[in-house]
Amino acid sequence: MSMDATMSPTAAEAANATEAGARALTADGDPIKMRGDKVCVFYGDKQALFDIDLDIRERQVTALIGPSGCGKSTFLRCLNRMNDTIDICRVAGDITLDGMDIYDPSIDVVELRARVGMVFQKPNPFPKSIYENVAYGPRIHGLSRSKAELDDIVASSLQKAGLYEEVKDRLDAPGTGLSGGQQQRLCIARAIAVSPEVILMDEPCSALDPIATAKVEELIDELRENYTIVIVTHSMQQAARVSQRTAFFHLGILVEEGPTQDMFTNPRDRRTQDYITGRFG
């Protein structure tokens, strides 16, 4: 009896420890969804990223900002191994998703990209119907067992992307026939349809007008409840509006990362200050 009494807390502690290990926390107590540890990226001989250490916090929007060529998109593309498609690209260091190394050889890249979805700068719907654009992912990943279930996924994804009301009467119309802003939200619906945990957005609003931009920003804010979002943007104001954390990249180095409100009122690093205030020479 006494043995049991002493054993059981130890077992509980062990269980706790494993749980804590799987859900790493930042110093200030936020759960970490993805973590970059000493990430270096090379395009051939040229090094594009130098020792990037960056935690992506769960269910928060992290904005990556910096001048063109600073490596922010490169870093973003590392997070779901989109850089694999570039032959001369080589990634060193560790990137983990819930503590799991995503560059491990045993990782199924297709499954990884279902968990870490992506939305691109230019809306790129498939040349298919609105319905098919959203249904494609769940179908190839086998996420639905019946037509009715697939219909549900399509409708709820379009709803979450704030597009359903606008297109519900013409789901068979081609996706490419929508306006730019609608197309981008269709792409977001397509990304959501496979139930990702992380959504990467590479300048999702740069090809949109201010109203469509506002809708996407509103959407990002809503998606934050269920998804972890990483967004690359050239618009300082957009980073300030939509994100909780901001990371500033310059010349392949992560210069500064912090709460967005601090970054835009009182950045610590001189280079951040110069960039966001428009003083870069």
Partner: protein
Amino acid sequence: MPQHTVTSYDDELKGLASRVAEMGGLAETMVNDSVSALVRKDSEQAQKIVQTDKRLDQLQHELEETAVLIIARRQPVAQDLRDIVAAMRISSDLERVGDLAKNIAKRVIAIDNSFNSKRFALGVEHMAELAQQQLKSVLDAYAERDAEAAETVREQDDEIDAIYTSIFRELLTYMMEDPRQISICAHLLFCAKNIERIGDHATNIAENVTYMVTGSQPQDERPKVDETGFVESGNA
């Protein structure tokens, strides 16, 4: 700090700072002149101060409009944003300083000249010197972007508060000595209160300079020595 890529942005920010400096100079002069008008019973000079205040008000309006326009046009962030916010806040403090100086000037015109006010006004004059010094130091701190100097100004405000308390006692004594002096002493008491308020505005400005330079407001409570609330007429 390097220039903005858009150089007209720099010009706009510089314009804002120089307008704050202009307002500061004007407010300083008004405080100087109002107190010297009080001591010399110079109602002509007092009239001029009332006119100067209109100019100060106008400058504040212009500054505010410019600041709003810059915000709308440039969406300032970080240091630029803090500069603009500080300029707006400081300008409204300076505008209030002008109002208080104007109020002293109006009292100069209203005060009954049959009394020798010089004896009574000595304490007020001394207090005004300190307030002027505070105002000057804090405007220098703004121009030099010197947070340490601003902090010193903030710490020194309790001296003005202490003098205010002692003037309060002194004037109360005069009033009890001779009821015919009540009118002039009441006016002087308001003048002293105005100067004490000018000191408070200098402190506000100091806090805004600190914010502008460092990005955070001073955290600690400023020591408060205004004890006039505890002065009883029996002890005065």
